[in-house]
Symmetry: C2
């Protein structure tokens, strides 16, 4: 039953791959029967289970393993929160709507796209070679507007060029004026667009703000101690102008985000030793700056020790992300961590690494891992006046000494009357050297002090005494820093499917998804020879025993050959199958099939179930199974 498998006999065939995902309803365009909406996808049963299993594994790997505090905050978010977080300035640009379809477009991108296209068309019409479009990442993401090949007047060309050069400076209403004046329409439909409006979306583009706003409660829940982390899995939304690349660029998606709060003066991580030997493919800032994309293979321990990764906690999470992705089935050879360039990173961030995974669209950012410093907690705290800080009892109080002036208010009032207050204020602002001088003068009998209006008053030791005093600070108050690993689950799911797709060597039409058992939508397929009633008791028994063992199985008693049913489940990524035939009824035996090798074993029903439990829970592999059960040679079949 151990049959060598050649998974690379056929090169990756995207058309066949996408046909499989569509045929088996992993996901499909949302609102398909209404014509679909770009950038929105619905997950069918296998996609939905796959996502649920990835999330379950994520919960185990991060939340349970690290005792994180899971929260569930609302999607609807009032505008002031986004203004404070910086999202309005950064993301919520002026938007227009297609006045027929309601499609939302970013106003400045629309103007830019349309005017640039007209300029290109003008060049074509004038017989000049159109300038080759720059192929950098940013550009390719933007809408490519069809060029019309229409010649413009010389004045129009000049006006367009001026507008394009200054586009960043236009206000919303001014862009609206441009759209009217130059008849700028939605290039997808030819429809006019509405007045630009600030997109004050009530839907958040990340789940992070829900963590930060609940920081005080979470800290209290954690008995006031840091480090600790909050975690959340939730839906987020982005105004993608022209979504494409399937699940890699969508308008609505599920994220899993962690906010790990840490003492800014101590970013060590107590479990760093457990991961320090993990070797990663790192693409650091310096290598990128030199124009190269050559990764460095280096252990996390060394990367932190040599300062490539800024601190232990950040390194710890980078390594844990690596472990997680590989565990669920991402090919480690196609996984790298790319450091953000200084100008790419938010100004407040200390360091940021993206887990990028190679797929047919290129290298795609699937997880971000940033040290956001104290930015988020600080801005929300400033805006609301609500302190978002940790108050920590110091193990050893900090003892400081300084000179302190004490005024005898009674004598002061009697002597100076309404000037008493002014004198008190003056003393509040005196520095140490000046206090020392006054102390010395007082020792001589009296000291002269100037009031704010310039009068000089003489004070006696009876009125003021200056002494060195000891102060003890036993509480330290600080705003924690935040390390944020942030996972785009839809992207991970998509690249995972790509990495696990292959076709049988002997038949390119027979696609297989080699999903690891832990995340496969269905773990075991139960295949009775036919839907005849005589198989029912055994099907019930096996189903029920697997369910009790916590293994998700499905019965396929559809009216097709066993081979076709297995082929269908190879496409669904079901790792194991058991067949119940007439021999099963006679001898209580059952065959066990492995998806990738198609090898088959046979054994007593309970024996096979016990092997299955170990296979699914990853405590045995197929080699081990082959040791425990004899290979199936086909003679037991009765038909």
């Amino acid at each position: 039953a151990i049959i060598p498998v050649n998974k690379t006999a056929h090169p990756f065939d995207k058309t066949r791959f996408e046909a499989l995902l569509n045929r088996r309803f992993f996901y499909a365009p949302a609102f398909e029967i209404y014509g679909g909406v770009a950038g929105l996808y619905d997950y069918g049963p296998p996609g939905s289970s796959l996502q649920a299993n990835i999330i379950a594994e994520w919960r185990k790997h991060f939340i349970v393993e690290e005792h994180m505090l899971e929260i569930d905050s609302t999607i609807m978010t009032p505008a002031p929160v986004f203004e404070t977080s910086g999202h309005v300035a950064r993301f919520a640009d002026w938007m227009v709507k297609d006045d027929q379809t309601g499609d939302v477009l970013r106003a400045d991108h629309l103007v830019k796209g349309v005017l640039e296209a007209r300029l290109v068309g003008d060049k074509e019409a004038r017989g000049l070679a159109a300038q080759p479009q720059k192929e950098d990442e940013k550009k390719r993401k933007k809408k490519v507007v069809k060029t019309a090949g229409v010649q413009l007047s010389d004045d129009a060309v000049k006006e367009y060029e001026v507008i394009l050069a200054q586009l960043d400076n236009y206000s919303g209403p001014e862009i609206g004026e441009l759209c009217r004046k130059y008849d700028i329409r939605n290039p997808d439909t030819g429809n006019k667009v509405t007045e630009p409006q600030h997109s004050t979306s009530c839907q958040h583009p990340e789940t992070a703000q829900g963590h930060f706003l609940n920081f005080s409660r979470l800290l209290e829940f954690n008995n006031g101690r840091v480090p600790f982390a909050s975690a959340q899995i939730g839906r987020s939304f982005r105004n993608e102008i022209s979504p494409r690349a399937g699940l890699l660029r969508v308008r609505e998606f599920t994220m899993a985000e962690i906010e790990h709060y840490v003492d800014p003066e101590d970013k060590r991580h107590e479990r760093f030793d457990e991961v320090s030997d993990i070797v990663l493919d790192l693409l650091d800032r310096d290598v990128q700056a030199s124009g190269s994309t050559q990764v460095k293979k280096i252990s996390v321990g060394d990367a932190v020790a040599t300062g490539i990764i800024a601190n232990e906690t950040l390194g710890y999470f980078v390594a844990r992300i690596h472990q997680f992705l590989v565990k669920i089935g991402i090919d480690p050879a196609r996984l790298r961590f790319r450091q953000h360039m200084a100008n790419e990173m938010a100004h407040y961030a200390t360091d940021c690494w993206d887990a990028e995974i190679q797929n047919s669209y290129g290298w795609t950012e699937c997880v971000g891992c940033a040290d956001r410093a104290a930015y988020d907690l600080t801005v929300h705290s400033k805006k609301t006046g609500h302190p978002l800080v940790v108050r920590q009892a110091l193990k050893e109080p900090i003892v400081t000494e300084r000179l302190v002036a004490e005024l005898n208010k009674k004598v002061l009032g009697k002597t100076f009357g309404k000037d008493a207050g002014a004198i008190q204020k003056v003393f509040l602002e005196l520095d140490e050297p000046r206090l020392l001088e006054i102390q010395r003068e007082l020792a001589q009998g009296s000291a002269i002090v100037a009031t704010p209006d310039g009068r000089k008053l003489s004070l006696t030791p009876e009125i003021v005494t200056i002494e060195r005093k000891t102060f003890k600070q036993s509480i330290r108050e600080f705003t924690p820093n935040v390390i944020e690993p942030s996972f785009g689950l839809g992207r991970i799911l998509y690249v995972l499917l790509e990495h696990n797709f292959w076709a049988r060597e002997q038949d390119i039409e027979r696609g297989v998804l080699s999903l690891p058992p832990i995340i496969a939508p269905t773990k075991v397929l139960i295949v009775p020879l036919s839907a005849k009633e005589e198989f029912d008791p055994l099907v019930q028994e096996v189903s029920s025993k697997l369910r009790k063992a916590g293994i998700f199985a499905r019965v396929d008693d559809s009216n097709t050959s066993i081979g076709k049913r297995y082929a269908r489940n190879d496409e669904l990524g079901t790792p194991f199958g058991v067949t119940l035939d007439f021999a099963s009824i006679q001898n209580r035996t059952m065959t066990l099939r492995e998806r990738d090798t198609t090898g088959q074993l046979i054994g007593d029903i309970d024996q096979v179930i016990s092997v299955l439990v170990d296979l699914v829970n990853d405590s045995a592999d197929w080699v081990e199974a082959c040791r425990r059960l004899p290979a199936y040679d086909g003679v037991q079949a009765v038909d």
Copy 2:
């Protein structure tokens, strides 16, 4: 260790209950540090875990047990879908916004509330007793607007009364006009409101449409067979005008919805026998119509047999909902199923039952279970032209006979030239008796047929023959009916917390949440005597063994007494606790505490863990645990 517990020593105290939920961060107003937003709540760690556990149990109880097809469709939904589903007409009323805060208000409710309040104020000012406000359910849910006690002119009173009587007939712009003319403002803020707009929310008020739109794909996934069900857990949104009652009436909530597709001619359910003996508290239509709320205790089997519940499948799901709610900890004595009155139900629905749960706010609908007939699939199919039907091979083909006219087109054309087409059309519309007449006439030699313009033409047997033919229909095509159980998870979570809250007899301040182990946020609390390092190895060992057994445990090594740590976890609903003290280090023993009785047992660490596993997995109860482990008498304690 079996100590009798009196959970009803103190009456339910809502203030203490809410303080507990807030103190332990089950949930809290969202955006609290920004002043909060009415109707939006964030779940903290225990609330979030509780919700996740309820969902996990729901998945097991419904999706896994019934082999449902889980999907995950988008929240964003284009307007045409809602127009077709009927949501725009039914839900998406004219809305206005507060022009400062942006709060959204339903325009007609605003006008009604403000004008009614002014009329009440007028009555007060005139010294007339204000009419007592009707206290029916509907009224109480609506905003109560502060009455001002200002007298109005007689004309104004008349105008207001006319407007109120006709309010349903005003269009959006007309309501806008009213707001301007009568200076109707947001009563919460005193701010003006914007022009009424149709609320074409892009966020769905239910997850159901995502199921229906994917029906064809789901049917194909299920090999073309019904019955089957799709299931989805997702976030939904409603424009609640004045949210209140905490989690019972919110703007954003998590739903779990099932759409079970069934043959309209056969609504039996194959597993109905498994539930038919379950006795439910039913409040049927007739009892309600008689003005009573006296429930009938009746088995589901009898309710279906006597026609109280419309069909087996609906009855099956009502019973399964009952099982689920009781399993997660709802008090069955405070659970009833109320049938919708005919005028309360959507016009297309056949029957509808709400699971209502009694709590401090009254009886609250927490689950709906409706037979929506073929409505949804039919409207989407009509609108899109995409057939949403089942095509079923008939076991026995339906054989029908009918008279069929066959025209010899060659002769027909030669004889009648351009009239040939008209004659063909005439024959398409002839009914059976007329065909029989013509057949008889032809047998006599020729038959007279009238053209649409009144000419009479004579046809011979050479041109037309009429014969009885046999037709065989082997495929039946039908639109399935939909049974829809729809769960409001936030409401269930809230009433569950109420039902499980009580205070210790000897101390009303010591609140307990007696959550069943299957849904408790944390199953086991591990309590080392102190945070001293000497306990670390044992804490690690116990944590790791419980984790391997799949049991979610938390360590509390905070710097307070063991008693206080247990009290905190009684409030969190943690059912079991284990204490590690110096005796544990010396003898490898551990004490096991049960939350409700506070009884304690002692045993070898591994023995205690094995008992714990059975307790948490519900395969042993505390009585059984007391049989397996000796009671802890306190002598083993070393301090």
